[in-house]
Assembly symmetry: C2
Homo-oligomer: 413 residues x 2
């Protein structure tokens, strides 16, 4: 184990603060995944000899990364000592950046969240304003917690735009003016000199949260779909988040769902998110209300000063409004049909539906399921579950913390 001099951003092999040998990294990862373990359990988990693990553990305890805690269960004889993270050796920050809010969390090296907050912040104000707010808030609260900014070793940051994962830079983000190729890590490092920053697309980060702590914990291959202002997917392949060759995998919002559909903000026709994301659902609700097709939606429209959200359509459907129900079913069906293509291609065992619009009512999930089953091959749907995410906004913040923790230790070549 050695502490690196140079600190940088995202996933280059030499960017992490702590470079571990392969066996050290495997020992750390086994405790990260399974919790406190004895030396014998570590040896069994990663397939090295007991003597090799003894020397690996000596390095890691000497470096203060691991420490012995209490006694483990014994299979007979002397009770073995159990190893866990030296939780307060260092800290990480998780940031889940939304269009109009920032969720923040501080966790220790043991993965325990010590502080969590949600701030109002408009991503359109640009990176200096947004990151400045985050930095000031964190410095103030870390001071209250008695944690030096020097002890923050990794930021995991989910952003609502396309990220080139190898560099951690946003590439042509449609709803984030001023963020294109902005060096987020340099800004953060001014206040947190010991840290690396791992920047990833927000939906990938949510998929990471579901993979390590949610419904994806037992799944090798699944897709997390976020339906909100836009529509995106986070892909898990063989138990790891899959980002594709440029980091843009999962960008399903601009798949053509209807060649005779509306024009999307991207300039193409009939994109999935131009038809079935929150804003078009709301717009069609407003239209139904104005055309007199829905007294309940008209009531909401009046109460909301001439606007509606997708959530309002959900409320109206819950009150039994047929127009709202039809709208929700139609959106679900279209999403389901696009997902059917992806199911044929990718054959996942699970699709998790998250994001604000996922809570629009049970008809939505039912229609997505019908759409998928209607157009997928029988073998592909044999063991396929399609469910609403239960983690909610926890998926993003948990994923961001996980992203930070999994990159703070990196294997040396």
């Amino acid at each position: 184990m050695r502490l690196q001099e140079h600190r940088s951003n995202n996933s280059t092999k030499h960017a992490a603060p702590f470079l571990l040998s392969p066996s050290e990294a495997q020992a750390v990862a086994s405790i990260r995944r399974l919790g406190p373990l004895s030396r014998t359990e570590i040896a069994e988990t990663i397939g090295y000899s007991r003597s090799k693990i003894t020397s690996v553990v000596n390095v890691l305890t000497h470096a203060n990364i691991l420490k012995e805690i209490g006694d483990g269960t014994s299979s007979g004889g002397r009770r073995p000592r159990v190893l866990d993270f030296n939780a307060d050796f260092g800290y990480v920050v998780g940031v889940d950046l939304g269009a109009t809010s920032v969720d923040l969390a501080v966790a220790n090296f043991g993965g325990q969240i010590l502080h969590r907050e949600s701030l109002e912040s408009d991503v359109r104000d640009g990176p200096d304003a947004t990151l400045g707010l985050i930095g000031r808030y964190l410095l103030e609260n870390l001071a209250h917690m008695g944690i030096s900014p020097d002890k923050v070793y990794a930021f995991g940051i989910g952003v609502p735009g396309p990220v080139e994962f190898s560099t951690g830079l946003l590439i042509a983000p449609p709803i984030m003016p001023g963020w294109e190729a902005y060096p987020i890590h340099s800004y953060i490092q001014e206040s947190f000199p010991s840290t690396i920053c791992i920047v990833d697309n927000d939906v990938n980060v949510m998929a990471m949260g579901e993979l390590r702590a949610g419904a994806g914990i037992e799944e090798e291959n699944f897709i997390f779909i976020k339906i909100g202002t836009g529509i995106g997917a986070g892909i898990v392949s063989n138990g790891e988040v899959y980002r594709g060759s440029n980091g843009s995998a999962g960008d399903i919002g601009h798949i053509c769902a209807d060649p005779s559909g509306p024009i999307c903000h991207c300039g193409n026709i009939g994109c999935l998110e131009a038809i079935a994301a929150g804003p078009p659902i709301a717009a069609r609700g407003i239209e139904a209300a104005r055309q007199g097709n829905s007294p309940i939606l008209a009531k909401y429209l009046k109460a909301n000063n001439g606007t509606l959200t997708a959530e309002d359509i959900g409320f109206a459907a819950a009150e039994g409004d047929p127009a709202a129900n039809e709208l929700i079913q139609e959106s679900g069906r279209i999403i389901g049909e696009v997902l059917a293509s992806l199911v044929n291609f990718y054959n996942p065992s699970l699709i998790l539906i998250g994001g604000g619009v996922s809570k629009i009512g049970h008809q939505f999930l039912a229609s997505i399921r019908r759409g998928v089953l209607h157009r997928s091959l029988p073998l592909s749907t044999r063991h396929l579950r399609i469910d609403t995410s239960l983690m909610g906004s926890d998926a993003g913040i948990t994923g961001a913390i996980t992203l930070a923790l999994e990159h703070v230790f990196v294997v040396s070549e």
Copy 2:
């Protein structure tokens, strides 16, 4: 290393004839990928100590799996001995089963193909007839080659239908009557008692061939598309063939390409392969000829006794026939639009187009490229190459041999 008693099919962990420890398996895999290596090079490649590798190599040479050959290049001092497979320790068979033909190859443990043949055989005759033919042909030719059937340790078999990879069984194959859940491995083992059988979908096998010996050799994430009687995809994720949760990943032929398109044999409307595979291209060529829209196609139709193949449409296009050219461009465009959705989702660095219809003319590839670029996001296509496969039928047989070689040694837990 130990020789297993029990021999079985496909990828269960305990099915391979030779169970290796993790370090033995890594040493074998490094020589498989990189060619002959010295002990020091093996140690550097897989990150173990030189002394550990010395004992690993002793086990493998003692078991006759590896042997020392000539002298390697030296970095100074005594020239190191180089290790390679003991090629004639054992043999594998690759089988690429098509609708009306079987490609067969016998290779040694070094991966060298010793014999190769293509036999006419209709897969619709059922498994007993097809496998009987393969078995008799192999037994006869192995006898000529002086190889005992006992020395064949693995069959890699690509089949034109959906395979549940964990069991090696075909599931509801549309063009293979009688093959559903047929125990291919049991049949093969009657004549080849030492062998395991790894059965996989033919397109996955072709992707494997491209990954190890073709255009995919440097690619982490790519898609191989076979366009012939049907349309399917083989997916490579992080340098490995990705089969999904049931082994049906890549089944893209039944993605909806046109909601107002023709009815497919699967019962759905507008499936990609009902519009853009060989048979519908040929059918539209016949229609154009009959309606007097193409004198050149009419000439081919007459010469072929009232039928045309997709290849004929290619010939007519090469002769400058506008109707044939339009047909090819239209098919390419539709395939390209479906691929655009998959590019947005999967963000591959390479799409390889193979199968008989891929040779229909340069307009076909150009139209596929245009279709993809038209509907994909800029970040996803930034480094995307779309090319015709150059391996041709070699992809299938090379992939089948590779599949066998990579499964004959399996890591023990």
